[in-house]
């Protein structure tokens, strides 16, 4: 197989000013890219440039800087469209983040198209962002939610998926890549099956767009969402992609200025897509920053990004169990099935304590349920620790993580790394509920 030319993290880091910052004599080992990515200088420059050189509102002014701002904003939209291989950049709606994009679909498309007794199929892997909006919709419409379970390695159980499709759901919404376990879902196959069953499909691409090539035409879903801030872009930038026919049919979500063509006192005519969905002044700087981030990634090549992260994941999956006694890893065991996300726990050390101690070594990992509480219930842990990668991540970060985890074990336990709180931690399970307390 032809492997793309490998990325060199050291070279890449030169583009990210944060690596110049001193953290107690160390550079930052940033292993929380799944929460948000670091930003390269080209992105902050683009934002700065807008703010200091042409900070006008868009789609309104008839003077030079307003026209420049409008052109830059619309160029950014075109870049997002190309990055996702959309047929038409009018299929890109700018939003603040993936959460807003999903809410937009739930309110606009969902309220009109999901009726009483109808079904939306979700999965146990979902981020709360792709769960709570559907819960509210289902409550409002008296609709049903069904969930595709996962197996013990975090893969969706396809037999159950097929059985749920047989009930004729209106919509299937699932994540492209799990932010909890890193699982890469077989989107195209699942989309084909859903379409054959007459359902539309929303794919949550928040963890997929940063980690490899995404082609919305090849995936053939109906809605695809992502957040800019996980793709090297500023917070406040994100996009909804949807097939144009769908966007045309959908009623507006937020309303007000910019999304209208004509306004009278008692009724209004809406603007064309995508502007129909962009009420009010958007985060112009962030959208322009997103365009710069995608240019930066394009120059690297997303296939190389994917290969880089696959190698790092393989390295972590090999090194961690070998070097850190007792470590528990969650999710698929092979790197080819997962994006650059490695979730783990140390026996008898709470992930919060792990994260706090790693922070003292300037290693940033996430600890908690990562906005996937149902997934954590499924794997039987209240919380886990998570290391996740992006273009600037290197093997040295993983080696620092390993050394950091060894230190955690030295602090918490005996030198063999074995810790055992001398109490029955299961006793509490027997203790029944009580109190007015929640």
């Amino acid at each position: 197989m032809d492997r793309p030319h490998a990325l060199d993290a050291t070279t890449i880091r030169a583009d990210f000013p944060i690596f110049e910052r001193d953290f107690g004599g160390r550079t930052l080992a940033y292993l929380d890219s799944a929460a948000t990515s670091l930003k390269p200088r080209v992105v902050s420059d683009a934002v700065h440039d807008y703010n200091v050189r042409y900070s006008a509102n868009i789609h309104r002014g008839i003077y030079t800087i307003a026209e420049e701002a409008t052109a830059a904003f619309e160029r950014a939209r075109a870049k997002v469209g190309r990055f996702l291989n959309a047929r038409d950049s009018h299929e890109i709606v700018f939003v603040r983040n993936a959460t807003e994009a999903i809410n937009l679909v739930a309110y606009s498309w969902g309220r009109r198209n999901i009726g009483a007794g109808e079904t939306v199929v979700l999965t146990e892997l979902e981020h709360h962002a792709n769960l709570v909006p559907w819960q509210l919709l289902a409550q409002e419409k008296d609709a049903n939610l069904e969930f595709v379970p996962i197996d013990d390695e975090g893969r969706l159980v396809r037999e159950t998926y097929e059985a749920l499709l047989a009930r004729g759901p209106r919509l299937v919404a699932f994540t492209h890549v799990s932010n909890g376990l890193g699982t890469i879902n077989p989107v195209r196959e699942m989309v084909d099956q859903a379409h054959a069953a007459g359902a539309l499909v929303l794919v949550d691409g928040a963890q997929a767009v940063p980690h490899g090539p995404v082609d919305v035409q090849a995936l053939d879903a109906d809605f695809y969402v992502f957040s800019g801030h996980k793709v090297l872009a500023p917070t406040g930038s994100g996009a909804l992609w949807a097939r144009r026919e769908l966007l045309e049919e959908m009623p507006p979500f937020l309303t007000g200025g910019d999304m209208i063509r004509e306004v009278h006192l008692r009724q209004s005519e809406f603007n064309d897509v995508p502007w129909k969905f962009e009420a009010g002044t958007p985060d112009i700087a962030a959208a322009i920053g997103l365009g710069a981030a995608l240019d930066y990634l394009d120059a690297i090549g997303m296939d190389r990004v994917r290969e880089h992260e696959r190698q790092l994941t393989a390295y972590a999956l090999e090194l961690l169990p070998r070097e850190v006694p007792g470590i528990v890893l969650y999710g698929p065991t092979t790197a080819s099935e997962r994006a650059g996300i490695v979730t783990f726990n140390l026996p008898d050390v709470h992930p919060h304590d792990v994260a706090t101690l790693l922070d003292r070594e300037a290693i940033a990992v996430r600890a908690g349920h990562h906005c996937t509480q149902p997934l954590h219930e499924r794997i039987g842990e209240a919380a886990t620790a998570r290391a996740s990668f992006n273009v600037y991540s290197g093997q040295d970060d993983i080696e620092r993580l390993v050394e950091g985890l060894k230190k955690v074990q030295r602090i918490f336990g005996r030198s063999d790394g074995h810790v055992s709180p001398e109490r029955d931690v299961h006793q509490e399970e027997a203790t029944a509920v009580a109190g007015a307390a929640r």
Partner: protein, 134 residues
């Protein structure tokens, strides 16, 4: 060794004091910190004069939350409910004796919050003498 995880904290984490349940508690309260999944169940045995004669907790969480529960339960045993009600977060943080970052404050104060909720309801459970109220 790390000053945050000084030996005393780790000792309390490994061998928490008052860990377990009371057979006939006068009050049972659960507290949780949904963000990180820390949970504690606090049980109080209170005399008619309003003195905490016994206390126990169970739960699961990080070293900070478990150590602070262990220390707090030591602290309140034998005290009157009025004295207990005067315990503030400073007292808990003082006995932990470490610098707690804002992100970890919830962990450190989970047991105190749970205790406070128990106390604010005390009228309810003190009124009924025998049966564990709540």
């Amino acid at each position: 060794m790390d000053d945050l995880y000084r030996d005393e904290i780790l000792e309390h984490y490994r061998r928490p004091h008052n860990f377990g349940t009371l057979p006939e508690p006068d009050a049972v309260y659960e507290g949780s910190n949904p963000l990180c999944g820390d949970r504690i169940t606090l049980m109080l045995g209170v005399t008619e004069e309003g003195v905490v004669e016994d206390v126990a907790f169970t739960g699961r969480g990080c070293a900070i939350s478990q150590a602070s529960a262990s220390m707090l339960t030591d602290e309140i045993k034998g005290k009157s409910l009025d004295e207990v009600a005067r315990l503030g977060s400073d007292a808990v943080l003082d006995s932990l004796g470490i610098e707690i970052s804002p992100a970890r404050l919830k962990c450190a104060l989970l047991s105190l919050d749970t205790l406070r909720r128990a106390l604010s309801d005390r009228v309810a459970w003190q009124a009924s003498t025998e049966t564990p109220a709540v």
